[in-house]
């Protein structure tokens, strides 16, 4: 099992959600976050005082999938979130040792 984490432009989140749903993904967790990679932040000005905003608003998407499904899921996210602009984000996957569905106590793949 894998935990796939994706840092995305907030604007593409709905499209990614729809694409994943079409691919049979039944759940995900999304949180608001901010950060920077290779892109620059932006500049704001208040009565002449400049503020450099380093951390750009992003959406963080996390989902648990089977080992077999992980490659396809990563491909779906990449295809949908790609705009070609700096700041499109990153995806990484990490092994998930065990998963428990709290309601039923199921473990492993059955809990996905």
């Amino acid at each position: 099992m894998k935990l796939i984490t994706a840092i995305l432009q907030p604007a593409v989140l709905t499209e990614v959600q729809v694409a994943l749903a079409q691919h049979g993904i039944t759940g995900m967790t999304v949180s608001e976050c901010a950060g920077y990679g290779r892109q620059n932040g932006h500049r704001e000005v208040y009565r002449g005082a400049e503020y450099t905003i380093d951390f750009v608003a992003k959406a963080r998407l996390e989902l648990l999938v089977t080992d077999e499904a992980s490659e396809a899921v990563i491909r779906v996210i990449t295809d949908t979130a790609h705009t070609g602009n700096v700041g499109d984000g990153k995806i990484w996957s990490t092994p998930a040792d065990d998963i428990v569905r709290i309601r039923t106590g199921e473990r492993g793949d059955a809990a996905l």
């Binding site: 604007a11 709905t14 500049r43 400049e50 450099t52 905003i53 380093d54």
Partner: protein, 444 residues
């Protein structure tokens, strides 16, 4: 008339009314600002606020002249008659019982909000520079002529006025055609040329702050008492009727909109209440002095239900009038203007009789013709202005700026900062110099 004819009571009321009408534009800024997403609230507010600056100056320079100068063929006022407003500084310059200067001030506030109304159709995506140019050109080519047609009566400020007020004789007490039908038709033309927002109809575009919308609606309602009751140009019975009608119609519209929502969607909503108030205000504007308070409630109900139903059209037809300027201002403006043909009560100061009071269909015909002339002129000329601007300076911000939010791209500001972590680094150039980090380090 001479200075001796100035009534202190009338002048006091028009001075206050002018300030109330001016307050409607920041009220509109809140009303519109709350309805957009948090990432573009400042741009929405700024489109209204900059209009106060632009039209405020333009009105003094030539606007008042173009609307109330001696008419050139009933189409436009002579721009040189009152340029700079110096010609009306004399104590003898009096209209009705008030100095022409405060009448000019009162009408300036009308011009400002008429232009600002259009901005609701272009939320989130129009270049600020393009809006500035549009506001100036639209005022000159569309609002000033239309206001001249409707508001400039013979022998009020100049000997000859506009053709709708004097030749057609349509009833438009405070601007149903000149302001609301005009701005609504312009909004439709402009948003058609501009195109829909990115993700329109696919991604959710929820209002980010409904209390702000309600605050805006409240300020609009208060200001509208100046708009309608001030249009009597005196502290008198006409103003009193207009005031009561300005209470009754939005009250009816608010209830009607909520009832329509309760039946259609299951819940009465706060956005529906705010929208109902505005629809009722728009509906009663042309009719404020020509219908009874009961007639005002009928107009309010019609405007409330009509606008609530009309708003659904935009998703069906696929044009993105973002904040429903067409659904609220054009539709309710038409309802109010046309309803005069049925509900005009001869017992009111206007004295005209609509169909229900034995007046026949003549008045309805006059109302319909004047509404159509303004609607068609505004739609066509606004469309042309928008196309020319699109081909020259461009109307839209970049796709990147639109998806990230127009505020930072166009104004270098963001509306809200709720962050508990220090996301920003301050650099006050004049007092502290903070060395900029090397680019390589920043990108690690």
């Amino acid at each position: 008339m001479t200075a001796a004819d100035v009534s202190a009571g009338d002048t006091a009321w028009v001075l206050i009314s002018a300030a109330l009408v001016l307050m409607m534009t920041p009220g509109l800024a809140f009303f519109y600002g709350g309805m957009v997403r948090a990432k573009s609230v400042l741009n929405m507010v700024m489109m209204s606020i900059v209009t106060m600056g632009l039209i405020g100056v333009l009105w003094v320079l030539v606007g008042f002249s173009l609307v109330f100068g001696e008419s050139i063929g009933g189409v436009i006022g002579n721009p040189f008659d009152f340029a700079g407003l110096t010609a009306i500084m004399s104590p003898d310059a009096v209209v009705g019982g008030v100095p022409v200067l405060i009448f000019a001030g009162f009408q300036a506030a009308f011009a400002i909000i008429a232009v600002a109304l259009v901005s609701g159709a272009v939320a989130d995506r129009m270049k600020f520079s393009a809006w500035v140019v549009f506001a100036i050109v639209w005022a000159l080519l569309v609002y000033f002529p239309a206001a001249h047609w409707v508001f400039a009566f013979d022998d009020s400020v100049s000997a000859h006025g506009g053709f709708i007020a004097n030749t057609l004789g349509a009833i438009d007490f405070a601007g149903g055609t000149a302001i609301h039908i005009n701005a609504g038709a312009a909004a439709l033309a402009l948003c058609l040329v501009l195109g829909p927002r990115m993700g329109f109809g696919k991604t959710p575009m929820r209002p980010h702050n409904l209390p702000l919308v309600m605050l805006g609606a409240a300020l609009l309602w208060i200001g509208w008492f100046g708009f309608n009751a001030g249009s009597a140009l005196g502290a008198n019975g006409t103003a009193s009727l207009a005031w009561v009608n300005t209470l009754a119609a939005p009250a009816g519209a608010l209830l009607a909109w909520l009832l329509a929502e309760r039946i259609r969607d299951g819940k009465p909503t706060s956005l529906g209440a705010a929208s109902g108030i505005v629809a009722g205000l728009v509906g009663i504007t042309p009719a404020a002095a020509s219908v009874s308070p009961l007639g005002a409630i009928v107009i309010g109900i019609l405007a409330g239900v009509g606008s609530a139903l009309a708003i659904g059209l935009k998703t069906k037809l696929g044009y993105d009038d973002s904040l429903d300027v067409v659904g609220v201002h054009l539709v309710a403006g038409l309802i109010g203007t046309l309803a005069i043909g049925f509900l005009a009560d001869p017992a009111t100061p206007t004295g005209a009789a609509g169909l229900f009071y034995g007046g026949g269909l003549g008045l309805f015909g006059t109302q319909a013709v004047s509404a159509f002339i303004v609607l068609a002129y505004s739609f066509l000329v606004t469309g042309l202005i928008a196309i020319v601007l699109k081909k020259t300076m461009g109307l839209r911000v970049s796709a990147k700026a639109e998806s990230a939010g127009i505020d930072v791209a166009e104004h270098a500001e963001s509306g809200y900062d709720f962050s508990q972590v220090p996301y920003s680094a301050q650099n006050i150039k004049s007092t502290i110099v903070i060395p900029a980090p090397q680019k390589e380090e920043a990108s690690k």
